[in-house]
């Protein structure tokens, strides 16, 4: 196998690490996959993670003067587990049989071509999921219906806000407020015996559960710095959701207590 030029490999690895770091996987997977690719082509890679950046250093172990170091700025995270699987599989494919960087690049470009899924599926399924969740918290049928509509409103707005590239924290405050406020109005029709469950569940689709689990895994796998940064970010988002609920509680004069 012919060793590729360090610059060519660096360009590929930067794109790979940036993509992998922005789709909601934990740090050790990014590290393992990227290192596997670098080693396949005869280079040594070191990654240093922080919340919004990853420091990438690539060195040729046979010639230490051949060295590259980059600071990658990550894109805002959009969960894409299909891509996590595919990029992880790509790193193994490169290791096992794709020993040509040009082929690897071509595969990578095919993978990251955005395959959009219909947004209305997301809205509908998220709403049904949240309604089912309210049932798990012992909400009655009326609660499920109210939560379904509150989540429909919230997720629809969230899709719109994401399209408008509105800051995630502002999105959470607005969606949390509107979902919980719609729930508050819904409970006025006396169609539910569990208004508290309805209000508590109506905003749960905003809780970043996957990010929280990722951050705990990062901490347990000794990526403590990025783990703590991610937990802090989760705490900020949850606080934003709480602000939205607080606004509703203020308007409803704490009737649910």
């Amino acid at each position: 196998m012919q060793k590729p030029d360090i610059q060519e490999l660096s360009d590929f690895l930067i794109d790979y690490v940036r993509a992998m770091g922005s789709i909601g996987t934990y740090s050790s997977r990014v590290n393992r996959c990227a290192k596997r690719i670098a080693e396949t082509f005869g280079y040594t890679l070191t990654l240093n993670f922080s919340f919004a950046h990853i420091n990438v250093s690539i060195v040729d172990p046979q010639d230490y003067s051949s060295f590259r170091s980059y600071l990658i700025t990550l894109k805002p995270t959009h969960l894409n587990f299909s891509l996590v699987r595919d990029l992880s599989a790509l790193s193994w494919a490169i290791y096992d049989h794709i020993h040509d960087l040009r082929v690897a690049k071509r595969c990578f470009k095919k993978l990251i071509r955005i395959q959009k899924r219909p947004f209305y599926y997301y809205i509908i399924l998220q709403s049904i999921a949240n309604a089912a969740l309210s049932r798990l918290f012992e909400g009655d049928f009326g609660t499920m219906i109210i939560v379904l509509f509150a989540t429909l409103l919230g997720t629809s707005l969230r899709v719109l806000f994401t399209y408008m590239r509105l800051d995630e924290r502002i999105q959470c405050i607005i969606c949390s407020f509107l979902s919980s406020y719609l729930t508050f109005w819904g409970t006025k029709f006396d169609c539910t015996q569990t208004p508290e469950v309805a209000l508590g569940t109506s905003i749960l689709y905003l809780i970043p559960g996957v990010f929280f689990i990722n951050s705990v895994i990062d901490i347990l796998q000794n990526y403590i710095q990025i783990g703590i940064s991610r937990i802090t970010n989760v705490a900020i988002i949850i606080s934003c959701v709480a602000i939205g609920v607080y606004a509703t509680l203020t308007f409803s004069n704490f009737r649910f207590l």
Binding site: A132, I213, L257
Partner: protein, 176 residues
């Protein structure tokens, strides 16, 4: 003997919630169903632990359920050649203690707004009760699944090997 129907009802709604929440993570389509199955297994197991085995602490039951989800997730990952977190993480989302978190917020704000000292103290105690329950359940969820990833550390990175996605590039191997 208690009826098992509440467990099945719980499992059904957990599967529904798991499926919906998993969709937002954009997993491969067939994995969506595996996530839904795992969500129903996990939530049903926790429900059974609390209801039938009288486990007094929800955090302990959650930890056991999360660990079970992690183990089953690893098994499903091997079968479907998909990273286990892709299957297991969305399955955990229905177990997030949202209602406890909400009550904690409610009591916190009531504590701030209350003038009467007795009620203020009551609200503070309630706040800490719900807050600590929320924190312990959430940590139990995350740690339970993380432990399986630590136990099967190497395997968790190996499952995507030979996944078949890039098989058509195997022909290139002989040229290099």
């Amino acid at each position: 003997m208690q009826s098992l129907s509440p467990v099945f009802i719980d499992m059904f709604f957990a599967a529904l919630a798991g499926f919906g929440f998993a969709y937002s993570c954009k997993p491969p389509v067939r994995v969506l169903f595996l996530s839904a199955i795992l969500a129903s297994i996990g939530h049903g197991f926790r429900f059974a632990l609390v209801e039938f085995f009288s486990i007094p602490n929800l955090a302990i039951a959650t930890f056991a359920a999360s660990f079970l989800v992690g183990c089953c997730g690893m098994l499903f990952a091997k079968i479907s050649k998909t990273p286990s977190e892709v299957i297991a993480f969305p399955a955990l989302l229905p177990m997030i203690p949202g209602i406890y978190a909400y009550r904690a917020i409610l009591y916190l704000f009531s504590f701030i707004n209350e003038k009467d000292m007795t009620l203020k103290t009551h609200n503070l105690v309630e706040f800490f009760d719900y807050f600590l329950t929320t924190v312990s359940i959430t940590l139990a969820l995350a740690v339970g699944v993380s432990i399986t990833l630590l136990i099967f550390f190497e395997q968790s990175f190996m499952v995507t090997r030979n996944s078949g996605i890039f098989d058509r590039y195997k022909k290139y191997k002989k040229f290099f």
